[in-house]
């Protein structure tokens, strides 16, 4: 094709109104048409750029020996040194173990709780009683972690707490739960179960409410007792919800309630308590090792993203819509 011909067509495209050619309109046309919508987008987009994307760009200090005086651009580059330093640090394995142990305990002891509670609520026949129980067990979800921590403290205090009052009467000596390595994980689990079990039932109760009543009626006609109806109708109907939540929970295996662990950590239990996020706070903000702690945070965020992506993919394979 002769070269002038091509140029002629380009020229025609520019001169002719896009609509007349049935082609894509230039962006400017839309910009003018939806100018108020774009205007409304400004604060939100600015927010995401400044407070979400600028920090992502700030991750480059993980590859630097960041100095506040030199700034982002002029600090010395050190490549992967910060990451290397972290991986050979014995703290790395300790943090990884604490995180995984906590997540495993969480999966084992906390995860089944909302399912069991939802099934029990589902068996209630008195509507008013069911509503009352539901109203009460959702409350702890809205209570702040600081209050949960504070209540734990006043109840378990060795000076005047009711639990240790009982301990002294029964065994003759108090137990300092809050300063104990052995009690740290059980306490975290108890707090979590107390705070979130009730709230966790919502999603299962919604799934249970969607079960066709005719299924139960047919089962009754066929002579199935309550146990058999539970096994053959109720459980299968929430199974997909359980599977998806389980898979997603594995995606968040590196996240185990930062605020909660942060609050419950102290000098006497920190060897079993420290997780990546609390370590980043300690090393980064309190000791000022910005680059090193950013590398740790970045390692966790990247592994977390890969885990979430792959588990979400699995959840979709499991026949569910997933989260993305």
């Amino acid at each position: 094709m002769p070269i002038f011909f091509l140029q002629e067509r380009r020229l025609a495209n520019i001169l002719t109104p896009a609509t007349a050619l049935g082609k894509k309109k230039p962006f400017l046309v839309y910009l003018i048409r939806d100018r108020w919508l774009y205007f409304l987008l400004i604060p939100g987009v600015l927010y995401f750029l400044v407070f979400k994307y600028a920090p992502m760009w700030g991750l480059i200090i993980a590859f630097q020996d960041y100095s506040p005086f030199k700034g982002f651009l002029k600090s010395n580059w050190v490549g992967l040194r910060n990451f290397y330093d972290f991986f050979i640090n014995p703290d790395f394995l300790r943090l990884l173990r604490n995180t995984l142990v906590m997540s495993a305990l969480n999966l084992l002891f906390f995860f089944p709780m909302p399912i069991i509670l939802a099934l029990m609520l589902n068996e209630l026949r008195n509507f008013l009683f069911k509503r009352t129980v539901q109203t009460i067990i959702y409350i702890p979800h809205f209570i702040s972690m600081v209050i949960v921590y504070s209540i734990t403290y006043v109840i378990l205090s060795i000076m005047g707490g009711p639990v240790n009052g009982l301990m002294i009467k029964l065994f003759g000596h108090p137990i300092d739960f809050l300063a104990s390595e052995a009690w740290f994980r059980p306490l975290i689990l108890i707090q979590l179960i107390w705070k979130e079990t009730g709230w966790g039932t919502i999603i299962f109760l919604a799934a249970l409410a969607g079960v066709d009543v005719e299924l139960y009626e047919a089962a009754i006609v066929d002579g199935a007792g309550r146990l058999r109806r539970l096994i053959h109708i109720t459980l299968p109907s929430i199974m997909s919800t359980i599977v998806v939540l389980l898979i997603l929970r594995i995606g968040y295996v590196l996240d185990n309630g930062f605020e909660q662990i942060f609050l419950m950590t102290n000098a006497l239990n920190h060897s079993v308590a420290d997780v990546f996020d609390t370590y980043v706070y300690e090393v980064g903000l309190r000791l000022g090792a910005f680059s090193y702690s950013t590398a740790i945070g970045m390692f966790k965020a990247v592994v977390g993203l890969i885990l979430i992506w792959s588990t979400n993919f699995l959840a979709k394979k499991a026949g569910q819509s997933g989260i993305m």
């Binding site: 774009y38 409304l40 600028a54 067990i137 309550r226 903000l285």
Partner: protein, 297 residues
């Protein structure tokens, strides 16, 4: 229904029902018992705490702990900060979230899916604590109330749920408004928002609870203790009283002596009561809020 219930009534079934009701009643009791203990304890005398003749409910009642709070400039100041942060923060949240959600609900908007993808990505990946801290510091927010409000101005999750809600509104309404010469901004303000009041109320409540309960952002962004919200002061009171196991360097000299147990409980009550007060309102909406988010669009 009644007939069906009788028909399936084996002795084992009755036993199970009995157990079920008892278990759930006990569980509900355990869920709120800590609150009762703390409320009762906040009225107990120091003498009773020391001698401990009571388990849950004290024998003599005093309002001394609450009088202490009313006299403590630091606690009153922190309550003031918490209230300001909750009110200003929630208004900011709703402004940023609604103005962004409305354009994104319009499927014909060019660049919409790009922006949505960028928003969703922030739900799974973030710069993390230190880079965010450096950004907050470099925009000059450190030690200012804005540090508690702006860095969390939009929750990506809430944004998407509100956007989905706007998308469900009948498109005819907006078209009619446009015919009458309304531009998109006036349509949002005069047509869409009045129709969305239940959603606006729900998410305002969610944001408000989040602000009232937050403490960690104040811990890292607010250096002067006079700007700390109630939750952080409460944490400080408990941590310090715990024999300074935590950050001993931050012991507040102005307490003089360590706060008494009754005072701690009274502060717990003061920081819990607002949540319990709006709980009935919350409850009306949250199931919807939780589930509506599951709809994708």
């Amino acid at each position: 229904m009644k007939l069906k219930f009788l028909k399936n009534n084996s002795p084992l079934g009755v036993a199970f029902d009995l157990f079920n009701v008892l278990f759930l009643a006990t569980y509900s009791l355990l869920a709120i018992l800590p609150f009762f203990y703390v409320i009762a304890g906040s009225f107990a005398t120091t003498y009773e705490f020391r001698t401990r003749p009571f388990f849950i409910v004290p024998q003599t009642f005093t309002a001394a702990s609450y009088i202490y709070i009313l006299k403590s400039a630091r606690l009153l100041q922190s309550i003031y900060i918490s209230v300001i942060r909750t009110v200003l923060g929630t208004l900011t949240n709703m402004f940023f979230t609604v103005t962004m959600a409305y354009p994104l609900a319009r499927k014909s908007l060019k660049g919409r899916s790009l922006i949505l993808n960028l928003v969703v990505f922030t739900m799974f990946f973030s710069g993390g604590m230190i880079p965010t801290f450096l950004v907050v510091r470099s925009v000059g927010l450190l030690d200012k109330i804005g540090a508690l409000i702006l860095p969390g101005a939009i929750s990506a999750w809430n944004l998407i749920v509100i956007k989905n809600f706007f998308q469900e509104l009948p498109p005819g309404l907006e078209e009619a408004a446009r015919m009458d010469g309304c531009n998109d901004m006036r349509t949002l303000w005069h047509i869409v928002l009045p129709l969305s009041m239940p959603v606006v109320a729900t998410f305002s409540l969610f944001y408000a609870v989040g602000h009232w309960n937050a403490f960690f952002d104040a811990l890292i962004y607010m250096q002067s203790m006079s700007k700390w919200p109630l939750q952080l002061i409460l944490r400080q009171m408990i941590t310090v009283a715990q024999g300074a196991l935590g950050d001993a360097a931050m012991i507040d000299a102005s307490y003089g002596t360590l706060p008494e147990d009754g005072v701690k409980m009274a502060v717990i009550v003061v920081s819990t009561v607002p949540i319990l007060m709006i709980y009935p309102l919350l409850q009306k909406h949250f199931t919807k809020g939780v589930l509506v988010g599951a709809i994708k669009g």
